[in-house]
Amino acid sequence: MNSYFASVEQQANPFLRGRSVGVCAYDSPNGIILASSREAKEKGIKTGCKIINAKFIDPDIFIIENEPAKYRTVTEKFFNILRDYTNQVEPYSIDESFMELTGWVKDFTAAEKIATEIRTRIKKEIGEWLECSIGISWTKFLAKFAGDIAPKKSTLIIRNQNELDAFLKDRDLKDAWGINKKMELRLNSLGIFNLSDLKNYDYLKIKKQLGKYGYYLWCHVNGQEISQVSEKETLPKSIGHSYCIPKRTTNKKYLSMILLKLCEKTGRRLRSLGLEAHRINLNLAFVDTGGINKSFKTAEAMFTSEEIFHEAEKILNELNLYFLIRTVAVSVSTLSPLSKQMTLFQDKFSQQNLSLALDKINDKYGEYTVIRGQMWGSKDLAQDRIGFRKLI
């Protein structure tokens, strides 16, 4: 979907159409734009722009705080449209999805017709202001690549190797899904400077130099399918939450309260998936530049919010904070299904059961109906947000 959050807001309020709109987490001068409308992007107001700067660029910009429930509802509606065409729909993020059409259409022309129909149905059944770009090809990677480079509100098809070569010619490495700045530099060190270079590189050499991941990248740009579209949800690699704090500080008591809330949110999601975690990560970003990132494998598996907080707070307490903190992030990884293995610590099961019982109460009566005493006063901190490249 194009300029998704902002477009949904413009769909809801027609008086915002045709003007700059910036969606943010918090409407304050130092707040950050999470998503900007097409009109705002044309003026140079993009994701990450500070609100104060956005207003300088366009004093007429309308700033609106994001509303996750609104976007989730629209997302569910458009995913339901996609499910009318195939039973293999794989949501990728809040505004992107893969569809496997093999076996449902006979050729690319038929697939293009479906793309046009989807676009029309989104406008008719969800909202006339909503637009999307669609990519079609013979592999998942190439379909995403086509969708990413397609002009707004259009469909781009890559039908064969000749068309692929034409689209890859002189194309920047970072235009490809899975290549960030770090990987770009590694590819550059091999003499690979664009996607054509990558496609034509010796696959044995790249496998030797960059391992499995490099090989997969080579396969992707050569049109070889590595992963299928899967409608089954796979286990996440990690679960976490971050928060850009309103009060820049080095005060550990304040940071600890925020950390507790982030650990509670992380724990809720972990438990809702029936998982436990074996690794903790804490990241603190400084106001100016840089930050601290600490991660370690825990002696015992984490399941309850207290267990996660206990490990995260240990890290925080050991740190010397010389610079003001602007963002706190905690995550857990090395996830596995909850083990029922007996331990020497008899009260572990009762703590797990207590957490699950509290989750049930909060599910029924609302988040934070029952909270730990330490979280008193934190209701307005770290509120519900949709993470980048997340569905929820």
Binding site: V8, Q11, N13, P14, F15, F62, A69, K70, G127, G366
Partner: protein, 81 residues
């Protein structure tokens, strides 16, 4: 002008085509005709499910909320140029 509100309103609703379509609402002794329903979304808050209707006429945008717990309607937002 953009205002956040939270006031009870009376709403005349049509149920047709499997949809809930607010047609008019009464707020502060004035009756407003709804020309367009631009978006409907919902949210769970604990035991309650709330439906939000983003509606407009040719001058104003309104956000109306329907609370299923007690079947009440409230106006939550107003915008006009």
């Amino acid at each position: 002008m953009h205002e956040k509100l939270d006031e009870q309103i009376d709403v005349l609703v049509e149920f047709s085509d499997g949809k809930v379509l607010p047609n008019f609402f009464r707020w502060q002794d004035r009756t407003y005709k709804i020309e367009k329903i631009n978006l409907v979304h919902s949210e769970r808050q604990g035991n309650d499910k709330i439906y939000y209707f983003s509606v407009s006429n040719n001058v104003n945008f309104f956000r109306l909320a329907f609370f299923t717990r007690d079947l009440s309607w409230r106006i939550q937002e107003l915008y006009y140029d």
